[in-house]
Point group: D4
Chain length 149, copies 8
């Protein structure tokens, strides 16, 4: 079994690298959004021309990013969404809802202090994990049936 | 033209009442989540029995609420998602993503200070509004073509 | 909010009547399979002619019943599946899988001694209930937000 | 023609090995659930942490298994469901219903004493077989048109 | 339960009237193609102008008829396809294939001498009937569970 | 048979009124875009606030109009697209493509001098008409099988 | 561009070989039903055991063939349906309807004397051809834009 | 990430070559309609035989071209639609509508003087570009996150 896994959400820690490294020997194709924060924010105006109004500046960039993220979610077997400690991360929750509506297998990665705030998101998931190790263990189990330890 | 409109998001202000009142003379069927905060939090254990672990307490409730919210989103022509001043409101962003993936017409209601944080959500919307009056004006225009003033 | 609810599974107790009676004042349209056991078993040959081979006798009947059950599942907002004390009830589990694949809200009604055997079915459900009262309470909560007691 | 075939159901006999061995020279990609009974039962708590309540122990595991089984069913051209002599096997019937709703070609493998109990499941299938040899013969015929003997 | 039933196929006998009359007391909405043979053949040129080439004469008419037949098949719960004694009736078989691909419940009405020629069509049906009485009996059973006699 | 018909395209002649008047005795629900040209152009800024940049002025309005037009196309059984004598009318061709991809029955209303330029659009249609009378005659024939004259 | 092309219909002439040979240098994957008439008729009983009743003999075989034909149609970009001189060929028309409902590009291959009887089928096609050479020329044009002569 | 990109619209300038050349080092599969104007216009009659009536001459050709263009749009991740300086280009707008209804990521390439006429098309797009360089820059950013300069 080969999995395509989209790693959505927080871009300020190395959680993606941890998951990918722990799955190095598995049949997994990982995809992700552009994780360079500045590029992600400014791509629209950098390519399509400056906007005076910050709203449209953001709008043009968010739409370019949507080309990548929607394709990645639609092609994924599993969508992992990481909610970090900082920021509002509405785009992470948006991705989770988008994936849920498409029937994707959803894995949430978040700390217990957010359990109540994320209860609707967690209720749509097939697993709620606490660290990247658990995410990697799930992917390994799904692919070859082996468990940790 | 008759519209079915789901009013998602913030439950601590009277924005839903304002929209509904302003559309009283229009062919609109409004739906909404359960907006009684306590009932929404505790419905799972109130009906299905207590849980020691708060995670499962929340989980059982969130799943019951999902019966209502998914039906309402799937039947809606327009999904309005309100982001308020408080709380993380990940369920609002989740609903927006869910609606977007289903191709629903999405209207966001939020203040300018959240524009940057909501740029991915806004990019999937057909309108970004600042108050309930604008939401009602859009619904009126869509139904009968009349504009304010 | 108006719900269409399909009541699948066990046909030898009055659980359907209990659910329906408890929802008498609600906006719910209930559907069900043909619950006359003899008619359900023999409908095929009664209408289309006798079969020497019992397999085809059953086959003709099961296909006629499928006209009704598939339509009912496809039109349902909520599918309730009751697993009783007796018989193998593979058709109940089949209906649950069918409903799950269509994205229907699934409510399971079963006793704790079957929890382990039904864990895959329960994992696809939005609620696992123990008696018809709980099913009715869920439907009431989904429709008008009111809780028992 | 190349087929992807999901082998669902009974995990306590070697029927999968027999089908696979008999198709060794054919263009078939076989998939299956995790067939290590203990791993399948305990995967949830082994990765995500222990649960006091057996219901949630089972629930966490069943959801991890669903990541694998749903992907496998959705990608399959043919879903073979084996009903064995023992256990209630509601998950097998659930898989059959799930596959039927997705329009998959369904092959049932079961003994005649279960014909009546499985009549609704059989009615949704394109073949009802009695041993793994027949399953393999069907796959061979579908791929290259050759018949046994 | 209310059924929408499309009556496809042969237009030279009164089989539709027989089915409809026998279901007069049931909740069934019947639809059908235009059964006036001359109108059906000539509608294209009668409305859109004459064609020198008979192929395009037929083509314009067949496309107008498709507006009606496709809508009717798509909205039907049950599609009954009658193969009569005369003509090649490829449009009947085409409707059956169209309905089958949409997952409609298919009932075939034909005489035994055509069983072999229709075996692929019959294999996609939930019932193969021999006269309009059987069709009506099936619809009655599906709606209220009552059997003849 | 009852039809829902969306009348797309040209807004500067009374073709919609002619079609609607000629179908006054038929079971047809007609829908249309907002046909007040000024309102259609300015709705976005009238409700959501002025834009300095004409591109965004247009953008906000076009998105509000899309709420209405997409709902109308998705709910239509038949989409009639009128190409007039003036303007580029790319929105009419866009609607035709949108309707074609959704499998809607498409009727084009245009003059012969545009036949070559519209050949791809016409090839996706079930009828190419020259005046509103023909459109109305088609709708009448589809509903009750009667032909002109 | 690479095409997958299903060649449906008549199995008593070498039309498939002619199309395949004429496309030998093109990126086309051809699929077809089992064209050994005896194997196709008897596959069901040969694998699954004899039936006294000829109807069920045919039924078991037709369902096995459906595993192959439905997969092939669903995976095809283009479905070519050949109507020959002999037999009723309802399965060919059924395949055409099935393909049309799935939105497949349909090419019909038939002689002019059947034009009227096939007008509904032809109306759903993107080309009506008279010999295998035309079919191959279309596939060549679609792939690389080159025309005959 | 690998993209499949359909380049629709204007065929009289070298804009496709410019986009393709600028993406030569990227994982992009480009598809396009037949861009030989004469072949595209006459393919129908060249293969299927002459037509006296120019309408049917065009019709036969447009349908053959549809085999290619629909497959290409359906398989594309991104659809780029170029509106040039000349001709009415209704087929370009039709393709844009078709792609939008399928949920494809849409990039429009057009000059500012057409902004108002294309506002409905632009409103459905994820980017509005002014030259082939911008199109290529977007594809590069989507694939590897790098920005110009």
């Amino acid at each position: 079994m080969r999995l395509t896994v989209y790693l959505s959400g927080e871009i300020h820690t190395d959680w993606r690298d941890q998951v990918i490294a722990a799955c190095a020997d598995l049949n997994v194709d990982f995809t992700a959004p552009v994780t360079d924060h500045a590029a992600s924010d400014d791509c629209g105006v950098a390519i399509l021309g400056a906007e005076e109004n910050k709203f449209w500046h953001d709008h043009k960039g968010a739409k370019l990013n949507a080309i990548r993220t929607r394709k990645a979610i639609e092609e994924a077997d599993v969508v992992v969404v990481r909610f970090g400690e900082k920021y509002r991360q509405w785009n992470a929750a948006f991705d989770a809802g988008y994936a849920a509506a498409l029937g994707k297998a959803l894995i949430i990665l978040q700390q217990p202090e957010h359990d109540h705030a994320l209860k609707e998101v967690d209720a749509a998931a097939l697993a709620v994990t606490r660290d990247p190790v658990q995410v990697a263990q799930i992917l390994r189990y799904v692919i070859d049936g082996s468990l940790p330890g």
